[in-house]
């Protein structure tokens, strides 16, 4: 066999290398050097990110007889995830250096890198075996990470909820897969697409529903979302932020790949309508729950659920434009959400407060934190001139490109939902800027790692939209993709 094929998956290999180095460092370094693990990992990952930006793109290559395929789009989404992970690493430095984490510091990073590796596989897999491996290795270690906060009960409850539902969903997913296999006789995406033909019979539809539910679980689409809020609330903040952006982003992309590559020809027949239903329900229910949340992390969990609905809008377009819009949305969403979680984490690490009421008058005690939080909220709500506005606008535009009246109605519903979402995002702003109460949180100076992370996010939130370079390069990459061959 031709080992040069491995060069196609250089980004995966890069992650593995980083993982190994961190592992070795963590295992063999003397005690006091371990305090630098966080920094070490961050720098290492920074190098890897830069490298994968420079050398990551190998064009469109199918390796291992088509089980694995990479393309400019794939490497682009991986790079986007890298950026997110980097920010998460930076923001988590203070937490991992806490005395609580001294023993498990290394594990956190190793597990994180493994999950990242799994996500890469999900993105690039063109064979369900590989995909399932990726899926599982992306989700199982997360359970361990969620449980990382040893003496917080919530952490464990979150973990148990996560692991059980995750296994359940993967069981359902694989059930669906088995039917697909039975019908198509292959697990290669392309072969399945060819074998299945264009006739959608009932069994296939049920299988499809199972598959969608399996991936929808990772994306936390309603009604497969119920674990999300509890897990986000219970998990350590760094893990929550990782969960909320990175794994969502990867899953979204994988979802698109499966739908268009494997079931492309059933677009208008079957899953277009499933998607409409899921989107409407997801956005609406997410908003309705978010409205009455008091705990910031739980609140952001529900907001991220409705955001997932918006991300799905990129798929219904079913074209390069939609793909690009989705990836851009993920990028912007990473920055906005991480900005919010950065603030939350900073405050939690300092004071342990995570309730919205604790944020009253924050703008008077910690103006910069409040400012960062406000930008994040505006960006999430889609207020110009912040990046969120652009990503929302583009994703709506790409969705409407599909042209049917149904899509107009769908988008209108989504738009009306944005008003509700604006309401609860403004509630946070109101707490920080308008509420007359005395500040609950004393003025403090957050760790430079946290500040660095926040500044990066703020810069991104402001720049990503106004500077059109990012969107243009993404759409460039997307234009080359051969994903949409089977759309019938």
């Amino acid at each position: 066999m031709d080992y040069s094929q491995f060069l196609a998956m250089r980004q995966e290999l890069g992650v593995l290398i980083v993982f190994l180095l961190v592992f070795l460092y963590d295992t063999f370094m003397p005690k006091k050097a371990l305090n630098a693990t966080a920094g070490f990992t961050a720098i290492l990952f920074l190098l890897f990110t830069v490298a994968s930006f420079v050398w990551g793109n190998v064009g469109t290559v199918d390796a291992f007889s088509g089980m694995y395929s990479t393309s400019p789009v794939c490497s682009m989404i991986k790079n986007i995830l890298n950026v997110g992970v980097l920010i998460v690493l930076i923001q988590s430095v203070r937490w991992t250096n806490g005395e609580l984490m001294t023993v498990r510091r290394g594990e956190f990073y190793e597990l994180l890198l493994v999950t990242l590796f799994g996500m890469y596989l999900m993105i690039s897999a063109r064979h369900f075996l590989l995909f399932v491996i990726g899926l599982e290795s992306a989700s199982l270690p997360l359970a361990a990470m969620v449980a990382m906060d040893k003496n917080r009960y919530e952490s464990h409850e979150a973990a148990i909820k996560y692991i059980l539902t995750a296994v359940f969903s993967s069981a359902i997913f694989m059930m669906g897969l088995s039917f697909v296999y039975g019908l198509a006789g292959s697990l290669y995406f392309n072969d399945i697409a060819l074998q299945l033909g264009t006739q959608a019979d009932t069994l296939l539809v049920v299988a499809l529903a199972f598959v969608i539910s399996g991936v929808g679980f990772k994306l936390s689409l309603v009604p497969f979302h119920l674990w999300t809020a509890d897990v986000y609330q219970g998990a350590p903040t760094s893990v929550t932020s990782y969960l909320s952006v990175i794994s969502k982003g990867a899953a979204a992309f994988a979802f698109l790949v499966i739908l268009v590559q494997v079931f492309g020809q059933f677009y208008s027949a079957a899953w277009e309508w499933m998607l409409y239903a899921l989107i409407i329900v997801t956005i609406t229910v997410g908003n309705l729950f978010a409205i009455r949340q008091k705990n910031m992390k739980r609140f952001l969990a529900f907001s991220s659920i409705s955001q997932a609905g918006y991300i799905m809008l990129g798929i219904v377009g079913c074209n390069e434009m939609g793909l690009a819009a989705m990836m851009y949305y993920i990028l912007v969403y990473i920055f906005s959400n991480l900005a919010a979680f950065g603030v939350i984490g900073a405050i939690e690490n300092q004071t342990g407060k995570v309730d919205m009421t604790d944020y009253n008058g924050l703008s008077r005690s910690n103006p910069w934190l409040a400012f960062a939080m406000m930008l994040a909220m505006f960006s999430l709500a889609g207020i110009p001139p912040f990046a969120g506005f652009f990503s929302k606008f583009f994703i709506f535009t790409s969705a409407i490109n599909q042209g049917s009246t149904a899509i107009y109605i769908l988008v209108l519903i989504a738009l009306i939902n944005t008003i509700a979402s604006l309401y609860y995002y403004l509630l946070v702003v109101k707490a920080m800027y308008i509420s007359p109460e005395e500040p609950q949180i004393p003025a403090f100076r957050s760790a430079c790692s946290e500040r660095l992370g926040m500044w990066i996010c703020v810069a991104g939130v402001i720049a990503l939209g106004i500077v059109s370079f990012f969107y243009n390069s993404i759409i460039e990459a997307a234009a080359g993709s051969n994903l949409f061959a089977f759309i019938g």
Partner: protein, 500 residues
């Protein structure tokens, strides 16, 4: 890009923002605010002169100073600018009110942030008026909306949190419909296979939006802007919002921001979808015709100065939309004149109300009286504003309303006649509530002994008020100048709607 004068309408406010960030004390902040707003005024004045010169030189292009710089290439989104008489009128209005507003909020607390938000708002406003690209226009539109929330929430009075939230959500609700219709327009902006575009001028050139799609998109677009134009029944954000907003914000909001609605209605809705506008006008004519008298009547029984003024704004802005829907040159000219005049005189009203409120600490007219004796300057100013509002010749209101009435009367059919007469009858009702307020507030015996110690306007307040009064009188005395500035836009060969 920087060779184009229009860009500076956005750049100057941004520079001011930066300046505020650097300022150390309130004195410097005021200095920046004043210099900046003066610069803006000078800029718009120069633009006006130059524009007229060009027109005199025989420029027949639809818009002048046009420029277009690619922004998001794949979607053909550009930063496209260009102005005609109407936009210039609006720019002048905005700069005047920004100027007056920054003087009216001379002693505001936490000035830095206040002015920063205020300037972000005005950036949006100016940007909205100079762009001819739907996307950019919409972006600036929303940029102008959101600062209201914090301005009202932080510096407001009364039920400010409720009002701020309500205002923001209702306006955003409007813009949700707006966004959808804009995207829809984009996808029909070119004939089959042509290059889609967001550029208003090109879209109107292509005229490729089919009638059915117009029927679908026009109402959404009109309502979307109409919400900001305080169109019945989507006006209820206006009374609460104004009542709670700080002075300068009320001025800017009623004076300029509400004009975005009217401006958008004709620049986008009418201009790009004239057929639908022509066929569906009757629906909105009913709504706006109602809101004209409706606002006036409900203003008659209010007791809070700002509520009175807010409802009169509903009535006057209703007049604007009403005239726009009368798709003919005269009425449209009248509509723009009305925007100018209403902008200035409402700003004047809110400035005065703010100053009076700052002294008496009440806005309830039942608790005040005989203020004319105590603060003659403010009193006289208020009377003048009132006279302008009830359409006294020599002040701006008269000119605008007369133009609208004459224009609306050009429709001979029963329906239009009826609603024109209804609209005309508002001049009486306006007189009723204006004189009621003036009588209760300024004349008669002094109600509250404590008011006797109050002082008259300070120099900066005088400056702000005088600026506005002068401009109101200028429009009222030399209307022909403004009419000719605006009218050119509405010649049938340019304004498709009239070409019908």
């Amino acid at each position: 890009m920087f060779s184009n004068i229009l860009i500076y309408f956005v750049i100057i406010p941004l520079l001011m923002l930066a300046g505020f960030a650097l300022c150390r004390n309130d004195k410097q902040i005021r200095a920046v605010a004043v210099t900046g707003s003066i610069a803006l005024m000078a800029l718009s004045a120069w633009l006006l002169v130059d524009y007229l010169a060009l027109r005199k030189a025989g420029e027949t292009a639809e818009m002048l100073y046009t420029g277009s710089w690619e922004w998001f290439g794949p979607l053909n989104i550009c930063l496209a600018v260009g102005v005609d008489g109407v936009s210039i009128a609006m720019l002048i209005l905005s700069s005047i009110i920004v100027f007056a507003g920054s003087f009216a909020s001379w002693k505001i607390d936490n000035a830095r942030h206040f002015f920063m938000w205020l300037l972000l708002l005005s950036t949006g406003v100016f940007g909205f008026f100079i762009t001819v690209d739907l996307f950019t226009m919409f972006m600036f539109y929303e940029v102008a909306l959101i600062p209201m929330y914090l301005l009202i929430g932080q510096w407001g009075t009364g039920r400010k949190e409720y009002s701020a939230m309500k205002l923001t959500l209702m306006l955003m609700g409007g813009s949700a419909f707006l966004m959808l219709s804009l995207i829809g327009i984009y996808y029909h902006s070119a004939p089959e296979g042509g290059q889609l575009t967001w550029n208003i001028l090109e879209i109107s050139q292509n005229a490729s939006i089919s009638k059915d799609w117009q029927y679908f998109l026009f109402p959404m677009c009109f309502v979307g802007f109409g919400v900001l134009g305080a169109m019945f029944p989507f006006h209820t954000w206006s009374p609460d919002g104004h009542a709670c907003a700080p002075t300068a914000v009320s001025m800017l909001h009623a004076g300029v921001l509400m004009k975005l609605g009217g401006y958008g209605c004709f620049r986008v809705a009418m201009y790009l979808m004239p057929e639908a506008a022509n066929d569906l006008a009757w629906i909105f004519l009913i709504l706006t015709g109602v809101s004209v008298v409706y606002g006036a009547f409900s203003a008659c029984v209010q007791t809070d100065l700002k509520y009175i003024n807010a409802y009169s704004s509903v009535s006057h802005c209703g007049m604007v939309l009403f005239a726009i829907l009368m798709i003919n040159t005269t009425a449209l000219t009248g509509a723009i004149m009305q925007m100018l005049s209403h902008g200035l005189m409402t700003a004047l009203f809110f400035a005065l109300i703010g100053m009076i409120y700052g002294r008496t600490h009440t806005r309830d007219i039942r608790l005040m009286g005989g203020l004319m004796k105590i603060m003659p300057f403010l009193g006289v100013g208020y009377v003048i504003a009132g006279m302008a509002s009830l359409g006294l010749p020599g002040l701006s209101g008269f000119v605008a309303e007369m133009t609208i009435f004459v224009g609306s009367f050009e429709h001979a059919d029963m329906f239009h006649r009826t609603f024109t007469v209804i609209a005309c009858s508002s001049i009486v009702i306006t007189a009723v509530y204006i004189l009621r307020v003036v009588g209760k507030l300024l004349f008669g015996p002094v109600q509250d002994e404590h008011h006797l110690q109050l002082t008259d306007a300070t120099w900066w307040e005088r400056l702000s008020v005088i600026t506005l009064i002068v401009s109101v009188a200028a429009i009222g005395c030399f209307p022909n100048f403004f009419e000719s500035l605006i009218k050119f836009t509405f010649s049938p060969e340019i304004f498709r709607a009239i070409g019908l």
